[in-house]
């Protein structure tokens, strides 16, 4: 690679061709503030608008200040990042942003978690010299998943980039122009009326509180304080490898035991594991897959655990509704079993059970309200909160998370296998399904359960798994943009897969929109992924069909996987939806 010589604050350094000034400055530990900049290296996607102007620097020979995030170094370039001219321009840019921003930081959801706030502090903004009219748009809380508050939008356009380029949903665009410009959906529609999948990636990258989740913590407190209610909680696999970050633990710390203790500290009546639902999902999904393979059903079969993905294909590919598995997601399955099997066993009226889910995901909030998944006006899952919301609740309740002892999930829906925990990462669901399908199809014991060829972070992966005489062709995609590519191939009839796993969020659930803010930093997400595989490794039982409680559930209650009862409780259908 060609190296360039540059001078940055009097330091002579060498940088590879193509390096931006921002990257070069990091090389010598100079900190230039940024706001709109977002670099999704793994995906080759950059939000490089150079629009916020808080990273401006001086470059010799240039008339105006230069945005360091987007300006590529040239040989012999002389840069100064620390002049009063550059610093005061940055401070003024932040002042201008604040002059059009609600002054309600103390009561804002993103208080102390806001890039703009941090920047104002870092740049020593102590007074806003330029006051005037502020934007005045209605807050949109139309959906069950997210809130859009355009008045807090600073036009960094990160959300627009992830929505259009990463996820290819095309819900968000800059609308209008000049002072009135905001990012929003077509025709100023409510988000609920668009084809938004609620994947929450926009929320994950928003630097302010212009995009946040619907906060359900109050509902949980109310349920917990209602003596007539039997409040049950479940936590998804991806939560246990991320929640520690909220309490200052290293990304990738496995805190399953602490998580359970924390939930118990909040006085839930039972703490269940979504992983149990995941094992159950495998029972049904593997059955369905084998059925389709052996009886000439539609192939490829696509996984259906991810609600953002489900909504995506309903809006974008309404002609492919027969391809996805009809299995409900693990969360919903666990809800359904809780309100039937568990309720019966415990002798509780299902109407008195409140099922709370802790999820890494915003789309789960919307999924829980899908009319296809609620029965007799009784939701399978009543309240969904994110990992972040649980963090808030624990802090509110004064639970010292890091000092908690480990405890175990409650019986009878708390036991799970290693196959279930890997649901939290891209590639995990299909690996879990293969572990079971292999044994069922070959009637032999699977010795090597680690299917390394299915793992990794590449956006689209494919592998062939030999099951007996048969070569099963597996496809994996994470990120809806990658999913779209696979689906388009299916539409064109050029896809040659038997089974495909799709997760809406890059990295899978560990990179979900409800996780502690990672701002799509893949280093964090990779550590979470390692923790997920470690958890699998730590489990004695690593095949879903070997979960003793699952076996018992079928014996006592459900009958056969894919049978009539299982079908009515654990399967669903899809509806074509409008694309806007």
């Amino acid at each position: 690679m060609k190296m360039l010589s540059i001078v940055i604050n009097d330091m002579h350094i060498q940088v590879p061709e193509g390096t931006t000034i921002l990257e070069a400055s990091r090389q010598v530990n100079l900190k230039i503030p940024t706001l709109c900049h977002l670099d999704l290296k793994e995906f080759g996607i950059k939000n490089q608008n150079a629009s916020c102007r808080v990273c401006v620097v001086e470059v010799e020979g240039r008339r105006s200040l230069v945005p360091s995030c987007a300006e590529v170094c040239t040989d012999g370039m002389v840069i100064r990042t620390d002049t009063i001219r550059a610093i005061s321009a940055r401070r003024m840019a932040v002042e201008l942003l604040l002059s059009n921003h609600p002054s309600e930081c103390l009561v804002c959801t993103k208080n102390l978690d806001c890039d703009l706030q941090k920047l104002a502090q870092d740049l020593n903004v102590r007074e806003i010299h330029y006051t005037g009219e502020k934007m005045h748009y209605e807050k949109d809380s139309s959906s069950f998943a997210l809130i859009k508050d355009p008045n807090k939008c600073i036009m960094c356009r990160r959300c627009e980039t992830v929505c259009n380029e990463l996820q290819t949903c095309g819900i968000l665009s800059a609308v209008d122009r000049g002072f009135n410009v905001i990012v929003g959906p077509a025709f100023h529609l409510d988000m609920a009326d668009t084809s938004c999948t609620f994947c929450g990636q926009c929320v994950a990258v928003c630097p302010t509180a212009a995009l946040t989740e619907i906060d359900n913590t109050t509902k949980v407190w109310q349920a917990l304080n209602n003596p007539k209610k039997h409040v049950v909680v479940q936590a998804a696999p991806a939560v246990r490898v991320a929640i520690g970050e909220i309490f200052g633990m290293e990304p990738g710390t496995i805190s399953t035991g602490k998580l359970v203790s924390a939930l118990k500290a909040l006085h839930f009546d039972a703490v269940f594991d979504t992983n149990f639902g995941a094992d159950l999902t495998i029972m049904e999904e593997a059955t369905e897959l084998i059925n389709r393979i052996e009886n000439g059903g539609t192939l490829p079969m696509l996984t259906s655990c991810c609600p953002a993905w489900v909504k995506f294909f309903e809006h974008q590919f309404p002609d492919l509704l027969d391809i996805p598995s009809t299995c409900k997601s693990p969360m919903i399955m666990l809800g359904a079993i809780t309100k039937s099997y568990y309720a019966e066993k415990m002798g509780i009226d299902p109407k008195d059970i409140v099922m709370v889910s802790v999820m890494p995901c915003l789309a789960k909030k919307a999924e829980a309200k899908r009319s296809e998944l609620t029965k007799d006006d009784n939701d399978n899952v009543d309240i969904v909160i994110t990992t972040r919301e649980l963090g808030h609740m624990l802090i509110e309740a004064g639970v010292s998370f890091t000092r908690l002892q480990d405890s175990n999930f409650d019986s009878i829906l708390g036991e799970s296998t290693g196959a279930a925990v890997i649901f939290g990462t891209t590639g995990g669901v299909i690996e879990a399904a293969i572990r079971t399908a292999y044994e069922w199809m070959t009637k032999k014991t699977l010795e090597e359960v680690n299917f390394k060829q299915l793992r990794g972070m590449e956006g689209i992966r494919s592998a062939t798994v030999k099951i007996g005489e048969r070569n099963l062709r597996i496809g994996i995609a994470h990120g809806l943009g990658n999913a779209r590519k696979l689906l388009e191939d299916i539409q064109k009839g050029i896809s040659h897969f038997d089974a495909i796993e799709i997760m809406a969020c890059p990295g899978g659930c560990i990179g979900g929109g409800g996780q502690p803010y990672h701002h799509r930093d893949m280093e964090i997400i990779k550590k979470r992924q390692m923790a997920i595989y470690q958890s699998d490794q730590n489990k004695k039982i690593r095949k879903s069909h070997e979960n003793p409680y699952i076996k018992k559930l079928y014996e006592e209650y459900l009958g056969e996987p894919g049978g009539e009862k299982a079908h009515s409780l654990l399967h669903t259908h899809y509806v074509p939806r409008k694309r806007i």
Partner: protein, 629 residues
């Protein structure tokens, strides 16, 4: 269907044939050898068309036909003559008589007197405001005397909808020469030697731009013509496109050859329907005759041109925004570098040049770079077209050599200030420029000198202001414009111009403070220094330059709460002359804010604190008892 021109010889032959037909339009030719003995040319520019000049052509043709003269007299349209305040303009050849303010009802007289009786209609001639002499010839009129037309050479002389008239004036000869006798590098060298700089505002040397676009290796390159003339009060490009569309097409093909592009795109404002229509006709004609399309002049060079419409966004005049607009996106600029010459339309090398720049190119090829260099100043060669408007007698389009002084433009060409008011300033460069005051009237105008005095060439809009114009009001007008036209992408422009505008509104309403001046300066500096594109980087200029040259006027608004020019309504306070008031109550009844008190038949008083200066009382008073501030 006209035959395709295969080589220069064929073109020359056609040129000679066609020139004879319109030879009588040249003043040094005494007698017509043409089948038509006379040509009556009506201005077909937007200004005159608005005043029904095209309908007059119909009427004139009918009048001529009625008299059986239609074999002898040609009635035709031309492009803009430039002298818009005198429109509609009609010119009759070979006498070369220039009629002004012609109306529909004058047509019969014009035919009867001038054509039939060979008598000049005196009352329709231009009257010199000083000598009151009626001047029959265009070149005797002071408005035209100091002008030197290169880019506008054919405007007002040929029918823009007839390619043959363009050919008669050596049209497409430059393209022919380039394609048959030069290699692309030669063309770039000529452009570099000519010193031609971009006429859209930036002033970047055209030759260098082409060279930069020629260099990168790419399977496709593009030539863009920027005809998104958004500067309010400027109409140079429109007039060229309406009056001489072929010159732009020819120059684009030359540029395409020079940089190695086979496709050209003209991005034009949708607000210019006439220019679009003429371009469409011209493109069709050029294809028919083989000046566009495949294998032009049998040289193997192919070039296509398409028109793309704008949709009302000033920022699309910025080249990266323009490219995005052509790609069907929001016209938001992107950071430079990469420049379009490296990464432009569809990420391919693209040269974006302005209409007026293109109009200079065929004459440079035909006459050589030295000829072009001989005009202008050391660093700014050639001529520049300006649109002269505002409080000036001769409103219109002018073209003068670079280095002409403002005094010459305003007092000699422009005929001075309207109503003999006192000159105050000229705003050049539109929303990106600044004001030039009496102090700099004798500065020779070129790119550098205008920058040095805090303004800029811009695309060539010149708005003349006089004593009754308030500079805060003008600055506010421009800021309102840029703020409204800001794409909203970058912080300084989206929010900074908004805040500047708010401060100006405050000042104009008497609510300003001295700190506001500091705020304006600080914001202005920061917006110039850190905005993403040229729109933002130049947006503060109207404020900074009025602050520099008319600081006292700001003080008057802020400290004395008065508007010396009497424009800022909120600062106008009306009062009642006691002796004249008879207590009729008419004023009190119309006052929208109940600022006037007094019993019937008694003297009335205006409360200056409440008065909003709307002037309703002044209009209502029948006894001249109210004084206007």
């Amino acid at each position: 269907m006209k035959n395709k021109i295969q080589n220069l010889e064929e073109l020359w032959e056609l040129k000679s044939k066609e020139f004879i037909k319109i030879k009588l339009r040249e003043e040094d030719v005494p007698e017509s050898t043409d089948e038509f003995k006379r040509h009556i040319l009506f201005c077909g520019g937007t200004g005159c068309v608005s005043a029904e000049s095209l309908k007059m052509i119909e009427a004139c043709r009918e009048g001529i036909k009625k008299r059986g003269l239609d074999k002898e007299v040609l009635v035709s349209q031309t492009g803009c003559f430039g002298f818009c305040s005198q429109g509609p303009i009609v010119k009759i050849h070979p006498e070369d008589v220039f009629y002004v303010h012609v109306k529909m009802e004058d047509i019969e007289e014009l035919i009867e007197e001038h054509i039939v009786n060979n008598k000049i209609v005196q009352r329709l001639l231009y009257e010199d405001p000083k000598t009151h002499e009626h001047l029959p010839k265009q070149h005797d009129i002071s408005f035209y005397k100091k002008q030197h037309r290169v880019a506008l050479r054919n405007c007002g002389n040929i029918d823009p909808e007839n390619i043959l008239e363009y050919i008669a004036y050596r049209g497409y000869e430059a393209l022919g020469r380039v394609l048959t006798t030069m290699i692309p590098e030669d063309v770039i060298e000529i452009m570099k030697a000519s010193g031609l700089r971009g006429r859209g505002g930036g002033g970047f040397p055209t030759g260098l731009k082409w060279e930069a676009t020629r260099k990168p290796v790419s399977d496709e390159k593009y030539i863009f013509c920027n005809a998104d003339e958004g500067d309010p009060g400027a109409f140079m490009d429109r007039s060229i496109l309406e009056g001489d569309p072929h010159t732009v097409l020819e120059a684009m093909a030359i540029a395409g050859y020079a940089i190695g592009a086979s496709q050209g795109i003209i991005y034009i404002r949708a607000e210019y329907p006439l220019a679009i229509q003429r371009l469409e006709i011209a493109i069709k004609e050029a294809y028919d005759m083989g000046f566009l399309g495949k294998d032009i002049f049998d040289s193997g060079f192919n070039f296509d041109i398409k028109i793309k419409l704008g949709a009302g966004a000033f920022v699309c005049g910025e080249e990266t925004a323009l490219i995005h607009s052509v790609e069907g996106k929001r016209g938001e600029p992107t950071k430079k570098p990469p420049f379009p010459s490296i990464e432009g339309y569809k990420k391919k090398p693209t040269s974006v040049n302005n209409v007026e720049t293109f109009a200079n190119i065929p004459p440079i090829i035909l006459n050589g770079p030295q000829w072009f260099c001989s005009m202008g100043t050391e660093k700014s060669k050639g001529t520049k077209v300006f649109s002269l408007a505002g409080k000036i007698n001769n409103i219109g389009l002018i073209e003068v050599p670079m280095g002409t002084t403002l005094r010459e433009i305003i007092y000699e060409i422009g005929g001075g200030i309207t109503n003999d008011k006192e000159f105050k300033a000229v705003q050049t460069g539109g929303p990106s420029g600044g004001v030039i005051t009496a102090r700099d009237l004798d500065t020779p105008i070129d790119y550098e000198s205008l920058l040095a005095i805090g303004s800029m060439m811009g695309s060539g809009g010149m708005i003349v202001l006089e004593e009754d114009d308030c500079m805060i009001d003008i600055a506010k007008f421009y800021l309102e414009f840029t703020q409204d036209e800001s794409c909203g992408k970058c912080t300084p422009c989206r929010l900074g111009t908004k805040r500047m505008h708010e401060i100006l509104v405050r000042i104009s309403e008497g609510e300003g403070t001295m700190e506001d001046i500091e705020r304006l300066r600080a914001l202005g500096r920061m917006i110039k220094d850190s905005s993403l594109c040229g729109l933002g980087q130049s947006a503060p200029n109207p404020v900074l330059s009025t602050l520099e040259y008319f600081y006292d006027e700001y003080l008057a608004h802020i400290v004395d709460k008065t508007c010396p020019a009497g424009r800022c309504k909120a600062l106008l306070k009306y009062s009642i002359i006691e002796e004249k008031c008879i207590g009729c109550t008419a004023c009190a009844r119309v006052c929208p804010v109940d600022a006037i008190s007094g019993k019937p038949k008694e003297k009335h008083v205006i409360d200056p604190e409440l008065c909003i200066g709307c002037g309703a009382c002044y209009d209502a008073c029948r006894f001249n008892a109210i004084i206007k501030p």
